[in-house]
């Protein structure tokens, strides 16, 4: 499943790309630094965000599980129409997820939440 690049994939990608002959441009080096910063924030904040998301998902879906399993179950429920896209409990959950994800991925993104 390719949901988004994991912290490990980002770090691994930087390590496999990083040229040691000084040929990298300042732009690509900035991108690499950004990738490592995302990975570091993910390692620090990701586990807590996953636990919080799993707790909300358990309440929403009336079942227990880890985040990945419950995310998949919520996607199935949305596709089957068992949970409506404007369900207030769903919206509250998605809002909290979006804020947690942005704090890891793009903390400076200017949004409307």
């Amino acid at each position: 499943m390719l949901t988004h690049p994991t912290a490990q994939a980002l770090i691994d990608g930087v390590a496999r790309w990083l040229p040691v002959d000084g040929s990298a441009s300042p732009f690509t080096l900035r991108v690499a630094r950004n990738a490592l910063e995302i990975a570091a924030r993910d390692l620090a904040l990701g586990p807590g965000a996953d636990v919080r998301a799993a707790g909300r998902l358990a309440a929403l879906l009336h079942r227990e599980g880890d985040r990945e399993t419950l995310d998949r179950a919520l996607v199935d429920a949305l596709r089957a129409g068992r949970i409506a896209p404007d369900d207030p409990a769903l919206i509250a959950h998605l809002r909290a997820c979006a804020l947690d994800s942005l704090a890891i991925d793009q903390p400076r993104y200017a949004h409307e939440l």
């Binding site: 499943m1 390719l2 949901t3 988004h4 690049p5 994939a9 980002l10 691994d12 990608g13 930087v14 496999r16 790309w17 690509t28 991108v31 690499a32 950004n34 990738a35 995302i38 990945e68 995310d71 998949r72 919520l74 996607v75 949305l78 596709r79 129409g81 409506a84 896209p85 404007d86 207030p88 769903l90 919206i91 959950h93 998605l94 809002r95 997820c97 979006a98 804020l99 994800s101 942005l102 890891i104 991925d105 793009q106 993104y109 200017a110 949004h111 409307e112 939440l113």
Partner: protein
């Protein structure tokens, strides 16, 4: 197949075109993956060469011929839309591949500068209304033959197919699909010429006078005119100014007022919301495609992986639109 050409190679081929005057000051402005833009002078005329990039294969999907893009621009100019005049459409024998030459319009295209710089405050005061006027004129242009029709239902189905093929489990994205599905406009509405990429970043803006030209017509098609109004309102194109809904520089009320003043049929803000959601969804699906390419070739560099992490931006924007729609 497009040949990769050096600056001198471009200059030599330009010299053989019927442009009048010696070719000078050839320089590459943007070498986008799918499109090259060259600036040059022919005698006293400041001109631009748009040319299919050598790495056009880098972008998935069929690209419409540049010749048709030139025909759309010419039709738009004839309809009173501020857009660069096309002066020459290249033939294969001229050796530049798919390409055309247009007049160079002075101004700024950098979205961040247009949204933030103090020098652009006079432009920002009028730009949303001018965009509305330009869009009304675009949507009234008799479309050139050969343009593909892309209505809301088809667009949504295409994105959902890409999304499901990725296998990703992100509930916010699936909620967006269901939200849009419930709000699909009835099929069979009159299809109009739609610019297809009308956003801050594709507008040439004069700091004092505002809109100078609408650029980048590559994605023009027939469809729902509200699509263009929604796309320029998508938060990804507000460059850090989320409170100014139109491109980070203006208000929706001004966009709609300009649209109606120039003869456009009134557009319900709910339809703008629909296409703004589609815009955020499009960005979200694109980030996933970038991630897939990063995963396939991680040693190529982390840039596409970092873009893959921008899915969160689309999600935040999607949730904001759903919340607003529930409050209304």
């Amino acid at each position: 197949m497009t040949e990769r050409l050096s600056r001198d190679g471009i200059a030599a081929r330009l010299a053989a075109l019927p442009l009048g005057g010696a070719i000078e000051d050839v320089s590459l402005l943007t070498g986008g993956a799918s499109m090259e833009t060259w600036a040059f002078r022919a005698g006293d005329d400041a001109l631009i060469l748009r040319r299919r990039g050598a790495s056009a294969d880098d972008h998935p999907g069929r690209k419409p011929p540049l010749e048709r893009e030139a025909a759309v621009i010419a039709a738009a100019v004839a309809g009173g839309v501020p857009a660069p005049h096309v002066v020459h459409v290249c033939t294969p024998a001229e050796g530049l591949g798919e390409a055309y030459v247009m007049r160079r319009v002075a101004g700024e295209t950098l979205g961040r500068r247009i949204a933030h710089d103090a020098a652009f405050a006079p432009a920002r005061a009028r730009l949303a209304r001018q965009c509305g006027e330009a869009l009304a004129r675009i949507h009234a242009v008799p479309p050139p033959v050969g343009l593909e029709t892309l209505d809301a239902g088809t667009t949504l189905a295409n994105y959902e197919e890409s999304w499901r093929a990725s296998g990703a489990a992100r509930p916010t994205i699936d909620a967006a699909f269901r939200w849009l599905e419930r709000r699909l406009p009835p099929a069979g509405g009159e299809a109009r010429l739609v610019h297809g990429d009308f956003r801050n970043g594709n507008l040439m803006v004069d700091a004092d006078r505002g809109l100078a030209a609408v650029l980048d017509w590559e994605l023009a098609h027939l469809g729902d005119p509200a699509e263009d109004l929604g796309w320029i309102c998508t938060n990804s194109w507000r460059f850090g100014c989320p409170r100014r809904r139109v491109g980070g520089f203006g208000d929706l009320a001004d966009l709609l007022a300009g649209y109606e003043a120039a003869g456009g049929e009134p557009i319900d803000p709910v339809r703008v919301d629909f296409w703004q959601m589609m815009g955020s969804l499009k960005w979200g699906v694109m980030t996933t495609m970038m991630h897939a390419r990063f995963a396939a070739d991680p040693a190529a560099g982390p840039e596409r992986g970092v873009i893959g992490r921008r899915l969160s931006e689309a999600e935040a924007d999607i949730v904001a639109i759903i919340e607003r729609s529930v409050r209304c």
